[in-house]
Structure formats: structure tokens, C-alpha cells
Symmetry: D3
Subunit: 251 residues, 6 copies
């Protein structure tokens, strides 16, 4: 099967290539996984404003990927920016959001879990994500490690220390029994496995789990429901012929 | 007080002017209300894709309005597209979303209410709006009148008939005790008052209520909480100086 | 528009006059606001027993206000005692409860808020109020400042200190992003604005917000739903002709 | 043990005596049950206004019953008017509300149940009762038989027919697996047993169950929590010496 | 009335007799209560594995008790293992689970309560029990006293100390207003009354309350709903004639 | 990776072999999947009694599979009987329940879904499963096709007709946007794909999805949390040495 991973921002080519290589290692033997990035957008996503900023360009890429015959696309941000829109504009190709998928995966493994996000300002939107995923009932807490996305990798040891400290606090104070890392850059830092070892509870790596779940869904012949994510009416009725025509300029 | 109403799409100037005039009629004696439209965006909003498409340009206008000294801005779409982002990028000026505000207003008047939206595909996102508004507990149902936004006004009598039919069904089948019209174009069609007369229950006009509630909040010295909607970190820490710098182009 | 504020107890005339004057300052230019008190009832309301004690006499006043042509009546206790009954016995005039209205207003401004009440014994009933308001989903916590109602004003500085201390605790421990002052006497102490300044989050003054929201609702042509708050059957069917006849004496 | 049943209105003495006799038949061998009525109040309770009207006088009787050494008092209305206040003003004697108790009893027997109330206008307040009882999660629906309280007994066969029809509808449409009769006059009509026979699911008689549960609680050494229902502060601190002093007359 | 208490494990005969004697003391004057134990099963129940291990044999006893004409059977474990199955296989005789019954009884007395269980590993399943009981809305917390079931009685004073310490913590940290002892061995230790005295809030003894509530339900002519707990289809349709035939051996 | 599928009853060897062959077809290229059946238990599972009957023997098999070095075991019943116990007694090997896993998978694809179960008597327990899965918020309805498990395959066309009819009803009446087949025998009938084609929404085959998700979890280095499913205390502390010793015989 063919799966694409979409970086919703103009990530440096080297880092994008590094992430692509990791995805290939994680993939099942019969999966071909490619990485795509958009050319313009936020440098990193740490606010709802930046989430929205990333959507129009990323949606164009997703729309294109379906034309190219991909089986699934992974939206490369754990906030799942615009996931519903991307599911609206695709009909055959599955689109997966790492955030919601990670939450649902955590629900498979425990009674209640906690999410570790990068900044306090993302805590409430993580609860909104839990609502969208339908698993708010198992979301014990959301905690922040307070490291800017672009600095997560500069001090890997320090980042891991903070993840372990907040994870431990979640276990003791919130009765967390599994953790979700709420950021793709954390995911590609490949710390989940080590944190899992130290804390003794499952730690969900959103990058890895998004890929594995996309594979399972495709393998099971499943895609997102078009009853949930209908084609935009103007497209469905033929009033406009392409995604671009949905945007107009006023006189 | 000074309030601006932002049309998040390139609406025809005549229609924008008509709406601006209606807003002036609705306003309190001490309110000056202006209408602003963005120059590029969706022709109308009937899908999540179009909601997201409207956000970046509308956010720029909202950001600008704060610089101009407005007390409040109303986001002119009942889906409240990007409301959280617009609250993130403003510090003094209140930003109000007509969707959530209408839901909360309905909660003031009854035990449970229903929302009438324009297309079946917007039903689930209306429930998400109910979640964001915090009043899901009083949301009895969401029903669709199945009229495209751009055709709502072409047959006003037909539109009203459909609103009354669905409203009555909501009363009988879902025990709705108040109705929310889930679209600004419905609001500016000024049918709420007539439907209210016919059905005998409160009918919330989102356009009118968004203005009235913005006035009340400003009058009470209140604005959205910056603890809920923090300035994007890169702006807050001075890493970028303007909204535009948050969007970058890859090499 | 004409709005009446009903004090549901035999408040000292001077204090009632002081509150009436404050209301006039807060009112919109086109609002005439009057204060009314009942002649017999609890000295202050700090228990459910006292809430109930206040209702029959206050209901008579509310019933009378509708005859006099008021557009809205505000029930002057943040516990909203008997609000549903007062809405049952009025048909044209809006009745507003400051408690529920304040909770719904807080929901307009943040993801989650806390309520500061006057005594620990009112904490659970504040959650019941949150249920009635339909916004329990956003109610992070209820905390008590532990000052008897009748002593709130005797040491204004001390009261404010306690409000700030509990408000800060709510921010840190419960992630409150806005506060509701849960008592009208706190409201007329006019500390909300100062607390807001100190804590940096919206602080809802129930007295002021009840007035502002009543104005907005009237301005929008809205009143409480008679489908939610039906006329008592004996009145509706003409079995009794007045409110007084609903109370009978046994042989 | 000694249990009193309080009629919160000036019921005709003959009917009160009839109810007292039925209660004696239902009681356990070691229970002495007495009936008490208040002298002034609503003729029957079919609205929230009438509920509130009944509370002050009924509370006085409940307060007196504790002085007389009763082990428990049953509040004789299925809307549980003022139950919280009556629990506030008693310290040793258990006070039981038939409404909430019936809901909790139904929860003991099935996955979900429905309530049959007397008028459509009481449906929403029945849901509020479900919230107070803590069992909203099992409350499938509330339906109304639309018979005025004072006419329930005039056509017993007709009343029963309506109860069976609504009960059957609840089973089929709402998947009700048990029923609660939501009115004490229905309870003393002694139809629950016959309806149970006809429909084949448990039918809770609130009058009988309130007595049986009061007996069980007393037998188990349990009473309502004073942490939940604290003595009114003015009484607790000795500022007033009696229930009457809590009501004052203004100058 | 005749009630049986079923010990779902091969308890030592002396201890079983002691418990039987206590039950007789607690019973109403018109109740005959017998104790039955199964011959093979877990020594004590401290895990879900042991809960399930106990069910087949205990179900056989419950099935037999109905044949013997008992009015009610109490399942002697506060985890209510297999309660639904036991209600499926009985048609006339009420089956009561002490866990759910205690939770529902606590709901009768307060706004929110806490459960004290014996081991941390039973905390999540206690929440599941709260869901099944329908009273999750009032369950403030579940805390563990960390004493193995078989050691509860060896140091009664030490056990009580731990119960009081955790109960006090529940009051202060979780706002618990009543407590449920989540283990039958705690129940027969007869500490509830003393803890209640020390802490000043109701403490539910599951052993005693299960008996008292079974009595009340039988006295009220009520049993579990067969719409909720249907006879297994193979039995209902006559495909098998006895409980034993439901278990088959493969070729 | 090595995965075992455990049939929790003495299924006919030929049918077991057929299912094993289907599983091999569904598996990823690097997965070896084996089928195991227990020797004694229920012929099929259509009641909670039969669920419990299957657990002790199935648990022994699961326990043994871990010794044999399997990476994951799938519990072959969509009611997930004893899943928690099987997770308690395993430490390295993942155990997956097809019921909960299917619900969580459905949550990945839509806003709300419905479950089709085999008998009306399993509807409530399906909701309990939804609670355990943590996705009750997305469970629109549970409907029954009313075909006994052992007859599902005898008239494949008739079974499919009933599934399509109930599925369509769920779409129209309950707004279902995806379906879960709530029975493994339905799963191995391989109708999901055809129903999906006819109805145009995702249809979850629990047999196939349980395998695919087990593969993804193992591939991602994840297993169930031992904080959620602790080893039974007697095993953990060494009081007993084997699973068998947990069951004792009374004197």
C-alpha cells in the first residue's frame, strides 16, 4: 500500500528527509511511505492561529495525493489541523490525524491516559481534540512540558527529562495509565520508547502510531465516512469544478 | 462604543452595505457599528473546508481592527471559523462568534433548544460548536433546512416555510423550546421574528444576538480570557514581530 | 426599555437605594431601571432554606411588575431562587436570574471558569445552578470565600483579599480562566473590576451582567420560552383567577 | 421505628386518613407511621410555583417532627419540593423525598427507566430531579399522562389506561425497562401493581417505595449527610435561635 | 420473607456462620436470612480474574435458591461479580449486588460520595461499577486502604485507622460527603458505625445495606427487570433445558 | 510477529480451521496467526451468563499463550468476555478484545456510529462495552438483527438482508455514519465488505479489525497498561505460584 506523510509547513529539507527515513523503518513490509511538505506556512505550530495558517496549503497537497493514487495520507501535526476539511475533499483516500488517532490508540490500552503537550496554551485545544476523537471519557489530564517545538531537539536529554517528570506527575496526581506525546516533533525525537521503559506504562508516539493505524485501516478496507465528512456542496453539485475555485476574489 | 462586523468572504458590496444598515438599526443608542469584508475567500461557507479557507484573511482584518481601537469585533459566520485564533491574536478587543453566542443565549431562555442549519453536512460541526460553547447539555437537536446559503434570499417565503417546518418538527420530535438559526444569511433575512410569532417559542437571530451580546460584554467591562486564548508563543516572546511573519516560505 | 431589579428580602432602604443608583450608572442610555424590595423574607440568603423562604413574596412582586408593563425583571439573588416559578407566572416580561446568567456569560469568554461563593454550604447548589444553566461542562470549580453575606461590606479590603486569594487558587489549582462572583452583595461591592485587574482574567459581576444581559435580550426581542416555563395549569385553564388563589387553607 | 409522612398542602382530612391507613399496611412490622398535613398551601402541586408555595409551611412541620423524636420524615410530593432545605434544618432525623428515592430505586432494578408524570410542564423538572438524584445516566425518558392531579382518582380506570399506554410507549420507543410513577396521588391510587402485571416490567410506586427506603435507611443507621445539607449559617452560629427568626419584616 | 446471602467462594465454615449470625441481627422482624457458600472458587476476590472465577459456581447456587422459593438473593461480594448473569437466570427471585446497591444508597444521602476499596488495582473497576449503578455523576473518588482482604480482620484497629485516614482524605481532597466501604469483609468487620461516628458523615456498610435494600424491594413488590436481564436465548427458546447444558465439551 | 486468536468455546474443528485460514489471508506479510479453541464452554455466546461461562477456560489458554512467546492474543468474542482479567494475568503479551477495538476503530472514521448485535438482550451490554472502550460519546445506537449466533451462517443471504435493513435504519433514524458488526460469527461470514458497498458507509468487521489493530499495536511497541490491569495481588506477592492455585476448594 502507498501512504503519504504531509508536513503542514515549510520544514527544512534535511529534517523532512530524516523523518521520511524513520517512517520507512517503522512501516510494514508491504507499505511504501513518502513524505511531502508544503511550501508556505507556519515554521512550527504552537497556537490555533498557526494551525489554521497551515490548512489551505496542506489541503491542496492532500487533494493532490488522492489524485496520485495514495491509499492514505497522514496529516503531520498532532493538533490535526483541518482534518475534517481534508476528509471532506477526499473520497477514496483515507486521511488520518495523529492527534485523534493517538488518543484512540491510548484508549485501547488503559482505563485513562494523559497527554503531554508542548505549551500550556495548547492544553484546552487538546481537550477539544479529545472531544473530536470521542474519548474524552478516558482523558485524565493534559500537561505541558513547556519546550518550544523548534527547541525540542536541541537538547534531547533535557526534553526527555521534562517529559519523564510530567509523565510521572500525571501517573501520581492524575492516575494516568498511559501517555500520549502530543507533538510530532516529540514523535520523531524517538523518545517514547525510552520514556515507556522508565515509567513502565505505554507511551504513544503519535508519528509511529499514525502510520501503523493508517496501515491497519487500509488493510481492513476502511476509510473515513463520507456521511461524516461530505464533499463541500459546491463541489458535490458541480457549481465549482476544482478546489481552487472555492476561493474567490471580491470586486 | 465601537463595534465592527467582519464578513469573512468577498461578499458583494451592496449586500454588505445592506447588512451594515440593519446592524445600525439593531444597535444600542451608544454603539457605532461598522461592517468590514475581506477581499478574498470563499463565496459562502457551507463546509469545514470553506470555514478554514476564510480564516487567514479574516484574522488579518480582526488584527487590524484592534489596532484601530475597536471595542469588539463580530466574526460574521455562524460557524465561528477561527474564533479561537482571533481571540489569540487580540489582547484588548473582544471577539465574538455568533454561533457560540447564539447557543449560549438560547441556554438563557429554556431547558433545551434546537439549531437549524443550512445543510445536513453541517449538523455534526454544529454539535462541535455546542461543545465549544459549553452548552451541549441543552442542545436537543440540530436539523437542516437544506437550502444553499446563496439561495436563502432568492425565495424568502420558501426559506421561511422550510424554517418553520423544521422548527415545528424540532418542537414536536425533539422537545425544542427555543430555536437558533445557524447561519448569518438567515439572520440578515430577518425571519427570526416572524418564525417566533408563528411557532410561539424564542427564535435566536445570530446576527442580532451577536451584536447585542457584544454590546453587553463591552458595557460590563468584559473581554475574552487571555488565559484561554494566549498570544501565539512566537509573538509573545518577540521571536516574530507581526502576524505576517508567522507564515514563512520554505527554501 | 423598563427593567426592574427585585430584592427578594426586606433590605434596609438606604442600601436598596444605593444599589438602585449603581444600576442606573451601569444601564444603557435607553434603559430605565427601578429597584423593588419585598417587605418580608430572609435578612440574607445563605442556605437553601432561606432561598425558598424568599420565593412566595418575591414571586408576587414579579407578577405585579408584569402588570405594570416592565420589559424585564432581575431576580436579585445569585442563587436564582424560584427563577423557574417566576418564569412560569409571567408571559410577556422576561425574568433573568443573575446566577445562571453569569455562568452563561463566563462561558462566552473562556474554556472553563470558577465560581466564588460566600459559604462552603453553597458549593453544591452552585453546581446545581451550573446544571440548570446548561454549562456544567465549563464549570471548573466552586470555591468559597467564607464571609457571611451581611459582613461582606463591613471590611471591603478584607473581603477583596479573600476573593483574590481564592481566585488565584482557582487559577492555579483548577485552571480557571474566568471567575464568577456568586453573590449579589459581592456584586454591589464593586470589586469585580479591581479583582480582574489584579488577576488578569475576566471577573463576572453578577449584578452588572444580569442587567446588561437583560438589556440585550429585550433589545433582541427575546424572552424566556413559555414551552419551558408553562403557566401553572390551574391558572392556564381558568380554575383559579389569581396567584393568591393557588394557596388555600385547609378545613 | 417512627416515621412521619408529611402532606405539603391542606389535603381533605378523609383523603389524608385514607393515605395514612395505606401506609400502615405497607409498613414493616416494627414501623409506626403517622400522617401529617400542613394547614395552608397549594391544593395540589402541578407547577414549580406550587412546589415553592408548599415549602415554608411543610418545612415547619418537618422541623417540628424532629423535635418529636421521629426517625424519618417522608416529604409527600414526588417533586421533592424543598427536600434540600428540610435536610438542612434537621440534624438527627432522616428526610426522604419520594421522587429522588424512586429514581434511585429504579436504578437498582434495570439499565434504564422512564418516569410518568402528570403534565407536560413537569417533564423538564423531572430531569432536574434525575440530576439531583445522580441517576440521569439511567433516565431514558419522562412522559406525561396529562391528567390533573385532582382528577387522577375520579376516573381510576381511565387514569390506569393512560398510564399503561404511556408506559408501553416508553418501553417501545425509549427502551424503558422499568417505570416510575411521578406523583404521590398516582401512588395512593395503588395502580403500580396492576400496571406492573400488565406491562411485565417493574413499576415504582413512589409512596410505597419512599416508606420502604426510609425504613431501610433507618434500619441501617443512616441519615442524610450534614456535609451535604449544612445547618443554615445563622442557625449554626446562633445568630438566630429558631426557624421563625430567619424570616424578618422590613421597616 | 426469605432472603439468602451467597458467599461466592469456599469461605471457612466458622466465618460463614459468624456472618450469618450478624445478618440475622440486622434483619427486619419478618425476614428469615440464610447464608450459603459455594464449594469451589477463589479464596478471596481482589482482582477481576478472581471475580470471574467465582461466577459459574455462584450462579449455580443462585439458580438453585430460586427453585427453593427464596424472595431474594444477595451476592456476597462488593464487586457484584456476575450480577447481570444471575439476574438473567432468575425470573421471580430478586438478586441484589452489594456494590451497586451501596452506591445507589449513598446517592440517596448526599451530593457526592467516595468509595474505599481494598487495593489500588480495584479503583478502575469501582468506577465501572458506578457506571453500571448509574450514579457515576455522584462518585467523587475511589480510594484504596491497601489491606489484603484476608488480612482485614487480623488487625481490626489498624484496618479502621486506615479506613479513617483515607475517609478523611476523601472528605478534604475530594469533597466526599458520604463513604461506601467497598468490600464485604470490611462490612462484616462492623466498622462502618464507628467510622461514621468519627468522621461525622454517613458510612455505607455494604453487607448491611444490601440486606436492608433487598428487604425494601421485596416489601415493595419489586424485582429486577426481565427486560434488562433476559433469560439466555437458548434457555428461553427451550434449546437447552438446564443451566448445565449451556456448557458443552468439544469433540 | 506471532498472534493467536482464541475461540472461547468448543467450536467445531472444521469451522475453527476455516476461521484460521481467513485470518491468515487478512494478516500482514510479517504476521503468523494461529487459532486456538478451549475444550469446554458455551456453544455460542448470546447472554452475559454464557460470557462468564467462557472466561475461566479461555483465561487458561491466554495465560499459556504468553508462556509460548506470542506477541498478542485476540479474544474471539465481540463481547470481550473477561478481557480485563486476561490483561491482568499477562505481562508481556498484548491481549485485544474485538468489541472494544472495533468501537475505537469506528471512532477513528466518523462522528458517530451504530452497533449491530445479534439479540435485543445484548443491547445494554453493548453500551457497557462502549463505556469500557471510552467512546460512548460517539455511540449513536445499538440495534439487533435478531438472528441466533448459530444460525447466522445457515442463511447467509437472509442474515445479510437483516444487517442491511438494520444498518439502513441506523443511518436514517440514528444518524449512524459507520457500523460495527457486534459478533465474531458475523465477522467470519465476511459480509462487512458487501454491506459497506451497499450502504456507502464504513462497516467494521470485528474479526478483521481485531487482527489488524493487534498488528499495529505490536508493531508500535505497545501493549496494555499494567497500571490499568495489575497482576492479581496473590500472584504478584507470590502467595500463590500459578493461576490454578487461585481457585481453592472448601473443606
Amino acid at each position: 500500500m502507498k501512504i503519504a506523510y504531509v508536513v503542514p509547513g515549510p520544514m527544512d529539507h534535511k529534517e523532512a528527509a530524516r523523518r521520511g527515513a524513520i517512517l520507512k523503518e517503522w512501516a510494514a513490509p508491504d507499505t511504501a511511505v513518502d513524505i511531502r511538505r508544503v511550501e508556505e506556512g507556519p515554521a512550527s505550530i504552537e497556537s490555533m492561529y498557526e494551525e489554521y495558517l497551515s490548512i489551505p496549503a496542506a489541503a491542496q497537497v492532500v487533494f493532490q495525493l488522492e489524485q496520485e493514487g495514495y491509499d492514505a495520507a497522514i496529516l503531520g501535526c498532532a493538533g490535526d489541523p483541518g482534518l475534517d476539511a481534508m476528509r471532506e475533499i477526499t473520497s477514496q483516500m483515507l486521511v488520518v490525524g495523529p492527534g485523534q488517532t493517538s488518543f484512540q490508540t491510548a484508549a485501547m490500552l488503559c482505563h485513562q491516559f494523559s497527554v503531554l503537550t508542548i505549551a500550556e496554551s495548547m492544553i484546552d485545544t487538546s481537550f477539544e481534540l479529545g472531544f473530536k476523537a470521542g474519548v474524552l471519557a478516558k482523558l485524565a489530564s493534559v500537561r505541558s512540558v513547556e519546550v518550544p517545538v523548534l527547541e525540542l531537539a536541541t537538547d534531547r536529554a533535557g526534553t526527555m527529562e521534562k517529559i519523564i517528570a510530567e509523565g510521572r506527575a500525571a501517573m501520581i496526581e492524575d492516575r494516568a495509565q498511559a501517555l500520549v506525546l502530543g507533538c510530532m516533533s516529540m514523535g520523531f525525537l524517538q523518545v517514547a520508547e525510552e520514556v515507556q521503559e522508565v515509567l513502565g506504562i505505554p507511551v504513544i508516539n503519535p508519528s509511529r502510531v499514525a502510520l501503523a493505524m493508517a496501515e491497519s485501516l487500509v488493510r481492513s478496507g476502511l476509510s473515513h465516512s463520507k456521511k461524516s465528512f461530505a464533499l463541500p456542496p459546491k463541489l458535490a453539485t458541480g457549481k465549482v469544478k476544482s478546489l481552487h475555485e472555492l476561493s474567490v476574489v471580491g470586486e
